[in-house]
Each structure stands twice: as C-alpha cells, then as structure tokens.
Amino acid sequence: MSVAIHIIDGPLQDAINYGAQNSFTQTATNIGATLVFEGVVRALEGARHIRALEYEVYEPMASRTLAGLAQDILATHGLISITVEHSRGQVSVGERSFRLSVQSAHRKEALAATDEFITRMKCDVPIWKSPVYS
C-alpha cells in the first residue's frame, strides 16, 4: 500500500512503467489491474483557441491535499497503490498536465477510485489553471 505525489515543472513526460513485472513481492503478485489516466491540454477552452494552460500550484498545501486525498481513496477502495503527477507552470496543447496511476486487485475499484479521485481533486486541491492565448 503506497501513495506518491509528484509536482512537475512543465508538461509530464512518458509514464514510468508501474507494471508489477520483476517485482515479485507478496503485494505485487496480488495486482490484477493497473489504470493510468492522463489529462491532456485541449485546443479549445470554452469557445476560444488556446496555446497552453498555465498551472498555478499552492504549495505545500497542494501536495498535502493530494496526499490526503490519495490516502483516503486508497483506504476506501482497498487499492494497492496510487501515484499522482501534476504539472506546475505552462503546458502546451497536446501535452499532459496530470497523471493518475492506480494498482488494484480488480478493475472495479481502480475505475471507481479514478473517478472519485479526479472529482474530488477538482474541488479541493489548490491548483488553478489559466488559458494562454496565441
């Protein structure tokens, strides 16, 4: 059972491989589902074309709130691990600003946890995004 939170300057790079291969601990062999959700910056914000989004992150509250939320979701849904990555600063259209990686025994809890995590993040975590126009 583990939680990791990373605030990254600029766009996220390719995901680290969170698969269970070559890690035959008792926990790893119970992983039956991994789910990776990525948020990508879209070209349209409302009706206007944008070039990028600028993310403002209020630290250390943002990391603390994300960690508290992840711990709560991990316990409620009985997950094996949660990793959260969120950008700070400018992220261009087509680039990734958010990644949630979940490991669990079965798919149901991974999907439910992802949905709940993102919904609650958008209410409680002090991160603001602002459009950057061309």
């Binding site: 948020g39 250390p60 958010f98 409680d124 002090p126 991160i127 603001w128 995004k129």
Partner: protein
C-alpha cells in the same frame, strides 16, 4: 489586526493582485475574514462570503480563530487536472 489573504488564478488576475490585506479584530474567527473581504469588494460580496479559506495550508472551519501571523489563502474555483 491585519490579515493577509493569498488569492490565485482568475480571481487574482481580475483583481490585479495576489494578496489582499483586511483589518479584523484581534479575536476574529475565519468567517470574520470572509466578511471583511466581502466588505472590501462589494462586487464580489457573494464569492468572498462563501469562499473557503485555508489557514496554514489546511482547510478550517469558519469558527476557527485566526492570528495575524497565519498564512491565509482563498481556495476557490480550483481546477487541477
């Protein structure tokens, strides 16, 4: 006493500032900071009266006491992801 309230995002751009100073009594509670913000910006009265304030990086109840040395931040209209 003077309490400084950090603001972010659209609201900070709209008001052209990143921090608002308000004057409250020394026995003030969190909700008194909300009321002082609302009084200072009547056009944003509703937002400021109901906005969630974080004190020292944690959400607190409107009844919590507040000190001049506390770091207060208005956490509203967030949109991570």
């Amino acid at each position: 006493m003077i309490v400084h309230v950090l603001i972010f995002g659209e609201l900070a751009r709209e008001l052209s500032c990143k921090e608002i100073a308000v004057d409250v009594v020394s026995t003030a509670k969190v909700r008194d900071v909300n009321f002082a913000l609302a009084a200072k910006f009547p056009a944003k009265s509703q937002l400021f009266q109901t906005a969630r304030l974080a004190v020292n990086h944690a959400f607190t109840s409107p009844d919590s006491p507040i000190n001049a040395s506390d770091e207060v931040a208005l956490i509203e209209l967030v949109g991570g992801g």
